[in-house]
């Protein structure tokens, strides 16, 4: 069985938003090589992963907590596992969770696994799909009216994976707290890319994705909690001393956590360059929309201007080219592939999502030129 990857980042520019901020550095891969064996971080373990001092996981989770502005943090196997842990620790089966209308499917599945009912907020609809504080106020009211009690918890997707919309977490947290409801912020697409301080945002719980936004190989995520919620989330087993219930004792215990530790110094630096990433996203979006004089030919979907590197485009122009191309809709990924660009789903031409994260200006120019050349096939 071949285990070669389809997309090789040494050969192509990979635009897949799922992958751009999870690309590892040489330093991370070197560390991973040393910890590829199972349970390799447990050489000096006394029974609790987050207390291990060699490698210094104990010190690292404290650094993570500082970095995220949270009282206490721990690693998980991913953001979805974090969401489940939070739901499971705060709510009882049959309770209700209010989530944003752009929430990832894993938010819904995590709630279902915890036995919770889900009520979604509205978004503003096509083309911006904005999530507003008002929508949370309305939905929290709706929950109370329909169920007779407040939601057990609310979840906000800080940046969603469909449109790359950055939400107003502070304002929505205030709405939730005014309704007496704690809030968990899903930062899978934000923390590790941009600066985030949960305390300043008024957030009770945070979940993060190491393999999506912290340049770690993963699978790994982070959960954290502020104030009294930390004691509840990180409560211990009554029967097994020091074993955390929601973490099932220990979570990431090998190359995954080491990759997060190794990536962290650069992650701390790169979040400070977030403005540059936003500028690149805006430059790319403007260049794509300028490919045609007809505004409907290429149109960015989601809130404008872009405040995130995940960009969704409606691309009628590229769709029309495919209708007359011998490769039909597959021509686009093929043309890009011929230019050393990957990450679009083969066959997809009506719309697509891409991310500009981490590319140099030269590489971004190259990508824009490639789309410009392909757009010229229309004439």
């Amino acid at each position: 069985m071949s285990l070669d990857r389809v997309i090789i980042d040494e050969l192509v520019l990979n635009l897949n938003p799922l992958q751009t901020a999870g690309r590892t550095s040489a330093e991370t891969r070197k560390a991973v090589t040393r910890f590829a064996d199972g349970y390799s971080v447990c050489d000096r373990c006394n029974g609790v992963l987050h207390d291990i001092e060699k490698p210094d996981i104990c010190g690292f989770v404290k650094q993570l907590a500082d970095f995220l502005g949270i009282d206490r943090a721990a690693t998980t196997m991913g953001a979805r596992e974090g969401k489940f842990a939070v739901f499971h620790s705060v709510a009882q089966p049959g309770d209700t969770v209010v989530v944003d209308g752009n929430a990832h499917y894993t938010t819904h599945v995590a709630a279902q696994r915890a036995g919770l009912n889900v009520i979604k907020t509205n978004h503003s609809g096509y083309p911006e799909y904005e999530i507003t504080p008002e929508s949370y106020a309305l939905t929290l009211d709706q929950c109370k009216t329909e169920t007779g009690k407040p939601a057990a918890i609310a979840l906000l997707t800080h940046v969603d994976g469909n449109y790359g919309n950055l939400t107003d977490a502070a304002a929505i947290a205030k709405v939730c707290h005014d309704a007496g409801v704690p809030i968990v912020l899903n930062t899978a697409y934000s923390s590790g890319r941009m600066p985030i301080n949960a305390r300043e945002l008024g957030i009770d719980f945070i979940v993060c994705s190491g393999h999506k936004s912290f340049a770690a190989c993963g699978p790994i995520g982070i959960i954290g909690a502020n104030g009294e919620w930390a004691d509840r989330l990180f409560r211990l087993s009554p029967t097994h001393q020091n074993k955390n219930i929601e973490l099932l004792g220990c979570t990431a215990r090998g190359a995954n956590i080491v990759s997060l530790i190794a990536a962290f110094p650069e992650v701390k630096k790169r979040v400070l360059r977030w403005d540059e990433e936003v500028a690149k996203a805006q430059r790319f979006t403007a260049a794509m929309e300028a490919l045609s004089d007809n505004p409907g030919d290429i149109m960015q979907i989601g809130m404008r201007p872009k405040h995130h590197d995940l960009i969704r485009l409606e691309t009628q122009l590229f769709h029309e080219i495919g209708e007359n191309h011998r490769k039909r809709g597959y021509y686009l990924s093929s043309e890009l592939g011929d230019r050393g660009i990957a990450g679009l789903k083969p066959g997809q031409t009506k719309w697509f999502k891409i991310s500009t994260y981490g590319f140099s200006d030269t590489q971004l120019d190259y990508i824009i030129n490639a789309f410009t050349e392909i757009a010229a096939l229309r004439f």
């Binding site: 980042d9 040494e10 050969l11 192509v12 520019l13 690309r23 550095s25 040489a26 891969r29 070197k30 090589t33 040393r34 230019r339 050393g340 660009i341 140099s360 590489q363 190259y366």
Partner: protein, 66 residues
Amino acid sequence: MMETDVANRNRTRVENTFRVIDLMEDLRDIWRQSAPLQNLTDSEKEKLKKKLEKARKAIEKIEATI
């Protein structure tokens, strides 16, 4: 009890094995940062050559222990 010479030989082998792997990871970053055309600048070419030379030396040290 392992003899000191054997322990030192083994350490040399393993340290240089990791050295080569590390240098190859550095090369991967050079390819990634210059993708997709990999048109290297003079300084990047120099950096690449130095890493290859270091890798060659590490491999020679491994070979010398065989």
